[in-house]
């Protein structure tokens, strides 16, 4: 069926985001496309899509690598992926959307790492347009990848080894191991899935399916109760400046955030009155940070341990220098630091609320 591809149908189960998987879905569903799935015959696909989403929330990031999934029906597996993406649009919650993208990407990446290298190359090239090749000679066993493909993904990773300056770079190609290529692909896949979720195309879900999604939303709402966001009290996310909002959602989505980014978010949250436990929970629930170390760092920034200085978040200028500023909105023009932004907007926000009563 896929003469031109090295990917088997079993591979499409593992890599349902690939172009090959998309054309499989297209062929399988015919002219009606995904709407076909609302036919009662496809009940298992709907159930599977919901399960996919639930698992993305319930599985700790650390155990994704050892995750074993039982495949009963390849069709159900492959078809449930695009449906889950549509459901995530309806769920309309950035945290769970990011979490879903991250979960699927990590799962695929860990599979790719253990796969024959040719398959990894196939996915990277065909689905994401990477220029990636096997290397002969003294670097035999390694892969070389165009530096632009490398940077698009590695610039989001914070360890020293990902910095371009610590890489062997030759005529535009960066040398990486297969495991490293799989890690870089994880970033690419995550962004790809996220962009699919963010696409504005809406597919009307029929009532029975919508009801299921409502149940799913209820389930997610309950999950969220155990997350710090709800226990914010007087701290209100919608008053955050764009830069802090960005770091905050990155953390919630399990993305890599630079040390300075975490520092400034922590200092910000402390300054606006979020309690230490909630901040620690924020970091440990969404990432694999060690709780003990995280607590120490948060307490340090709060001035409870160490030098007893209560740190302030970076000001706008430093945020820009560190590349944390994501563009200034109207309020930004009037303030010099993220805290002033929050206070300004929060005061106004409360006033508006008051007036409207």
């Amino acid at each position: 069926m896929f003469k031109e591809s090295r990917l088997t149908t079993a591979d499409l189960v593992k890599y349902p985001f690939t172009v090959e998987a998309s054309s499989y879905v297209e062929k399988r569903l015919g002219r009606l496309g995904l709407e076909e799935l609302f036919n009662p015959n496809y009940e298992p696909v709907i159930e599977k899509a919901i399960l996919r989403i639930k698992r993305s929330v319930l599985t700790p990031l650390k155990s994704i690598q050892t995750l074993k999934e039982k495949v009963d029906d390849v069709d159900v597996e492959i078809l449930s992926f695009p449906l889950a993406i549509i459901m995530m649009k309806v769920v309309d919650d950035p945290y769970f959307q990011r979490r879903f993208a991250l979960f699927e990407a990590k799962k695929a990446s860990s599979n790719l790492e253990n796969e024959d290298v040719e398959k990894l190359l196939e996915v990277a090239r065909k689905s994401f347009g990477w220029k990636i090749f096997k290397v002969d000679g003294s670097f035999s066993g390694m892969l070389k990848i165009r530096f632009t493909d490398y940077l698009r993904n590695a610039s989001k990773l914070r360890e020293d080894k990902w910095k371009l300056v610590n890489r062997y770079l030759e005529y535009g190609d960066v040398y990486v191991t297969k495991a490293e290529a799989a890690r870089l692909l994880e970033e690419e896949i995550r962004r790809h899935i996220q962009s699919k979720i963010d696409e504005k195309v809406v597919l009307e879900l029929p009532k029975p399916v919508l009801e299921k999604v409502e149940e799913l939303k209820e389930f997610l709402r309950k999950q969220k109760k155990s997350l710090p966001e709800e226990s914010f009290g007087r701290v209100d996310f919608k008053f955050f400046p764009p830069c802090i909002k960005n770091i905050y959602t990155d953390i919630l989505g399990g993305k890599n955030v630079s040390h300075i980014g975490r520092f400034t978010l922590t200092a910000f949250l402390i300054q606006i009155g979020m309690n230490i436990d909630d901040i620690v929970k924020l970091y440990t629930s969404a990432t694999d940070f060690d709780e003990r170390i995280t607590r120490y760092q948060v307490e340090h920034i709060a001035g409870l341990v160490g030098g007893r200085t209560r740190y302030k978040p970076l000001n706008c200028e430093s945020m820009q220098t560190h590349g944390l500023c994501v563009g200034r909105d109207e309020v930004c023009q009037k303030v010099k630091n993220p805290l002033a932004y929050y206070r300004r907007v929060a005061v106004r926000g409360k006033r508006v609320k008051h007036e409207s009563h």
Partner: protein, 400 residues
């Protein structure tokens, strides 16, 4: 005549004659332009867009800017004021190499710090006036052939890194003399326009060597590219130097001795490739650190990282004039760069025309192969490019 009117009139004449030499940048209709007017209040006028080269030239000719810029970025609507509505489409990759970032011995001779309250001049950096205690001390940077040459050398290093490490051929790279203290290198390449700020940051860190971890590199080997190769090459060059040369670049006596003693072993390691850290073992920790520091500085290029990472940057438009020097912003091919001396080749005004200016207090400058100054409170007749330089720098006013 007041100096601003004087400069503006000269600039007007220049543009009246030479505006046709100004080439619109590629995709001109997608670029934002900015102009600094000749006014006391020198706020830049931004968000200007032009459909074509002719309209750009016409504008410059009538407006007569003190300085003219265009965006490295491409926008859907370049003349929108709000960034969000501009619709960023991509940006060229730009590097800025400026004397400011290069340590040269000449700076001790020509840079000074001036107290704005009492007028006292100091030859070494100070924040507070040593005469009257005022904190209004202004750094006054000057240029000379030596530091401009150092900047050129760094450009050549950069071009090599772009070619060997990044695979960006010098043929696709534009080199521009900035009109004052250095050079810009433009890379227009469709694979690179979409690079985000943090990806560009990785490129600048690679070029400056920021965040380099020696233990993460390959072993030092002159046949390689990348940092391991470049460090190996600079170390190799270093080891070939005579003892007195090594001393003259500031290495301690002990270090020089050690290098001479281990020279042939080090060269062997660098050529035939040894184990990681072998050169370090051979030299000992402290000597190695000193040698490495030198090699590192030689292997890195001190680009201004902010210019490269700013994806909305405005950059000087080639063939326009620089308002602080009266020099021309000159686009250069690589062959031309080798020969290029800004203090001869970027002059915009005729050298055979002389004019009298009143100079308050100005250092010497070598322009057109002749040295002028220093001057203090005197009226001198100077060739136009020299007079313009002093007036533009605020050091002189037209006399009579």
């Amino acid at each position: 005549m007041n100096p601003i009117d004087f400069i503006r009139e000269k600039f007007r004449l220049y543009y009246a004659e030479s505006v046709n030499e100004i080439k619109a940048p590629t995709f001109v209709e997608k670029r934002e332009f900015g102009f600094v007017p000749f006014r006391k209040e020198k706020t830049m006028i931004r968000h200007r867009g032009f459909e074509n080269q002719k309209k750009l030239q016409d504008f410059i000719k009538t407006f007569v800017p003190s300085d003219a810029y265009y965006s490295s970025a491409y926008y859907k609507n370049p003349s929108e004021e709000k960034m969000a509505e501009k619709g960023w489409l991509g940006a060229d990759l730009i590097f800025d190499i400026d004397c400011d970032h290069i340590q040269t011995p000449c700076k001790k001779e020509h840079d000074s710090w001036v107290c704005l309250d009492c007028g006292e001049v100091f030859s070494s950096p100070t924040k507070k006036c040593l005469n009257c205690g005022s904190e209004k001390v202004d750094e006054e940077k000057w240029i000379c052939e030596e530091c401009l040459d150092a900047a050129k050398k760094e450009v050549l290093k950069l071009l090599k890194i772009l070619e060997e490490d990044f695979g960006i051929s010098e043929k696709t790279v534009g080199i521009v003399f900035s009109g004052h203290r250095g050079y810009h290198v433009h890379v227009e390449n469709k694979d690179l326009v979409k690079l985000e700020a943090e990806e560009r940051k990785e490129i600048t860190d690679y070029i400056t060597g920021a965040g380099l971890k020696l233990n993460m590199l390959q072993n030092l080997d002159v046949s390689k590219t990348g940092w391991s190769g470049r460090l190996a090459k600079t170390l190799y060059d270093l080891c070939l130097k005579k003892p007195e040369e090594l001393a003259s670049i500031g290495l301690r006596e002990k270090t020089v001795k050690k290098i001479v003693e281990k020279r042939s072993q080090i060269l062997d390691l660098l050529v035939f490739g040894g184990e990681k850290g072998e050169v370090e073992k051979l030299l000992g920790k402290t000597v190695w650190r000193e040698v490495f520091e030198k090699a590192f500085r030689e292997a890195s290029v001190p680009i201004d990282t902010v210019v490269t990472t700013d994806i909305h940057r405005l950059i000087r438009l080639p063939k326009t004039l620089h308002g602080k020097t009266g020099f021309r912003v000159v686009p250069l091919s690589l062959e031309k760069l080798y020969e290029f001396n800004p203090l001869n080749d970027a002059l915009a005004f005729p050298s055979d025309e002389k004019i009298k200016v009143k100079v308050k207090n100005a250092k010497k400058i070598r322009i057109g192969g002749e040295t002028y100054g220093p001057y203090k409170d005197e009226v001198v007749g100077l060739p136009m490019p020299v007079a313009m330089f002093y007036v533009c720098r605020g050091k002189a006013t037209p006399a009579g």
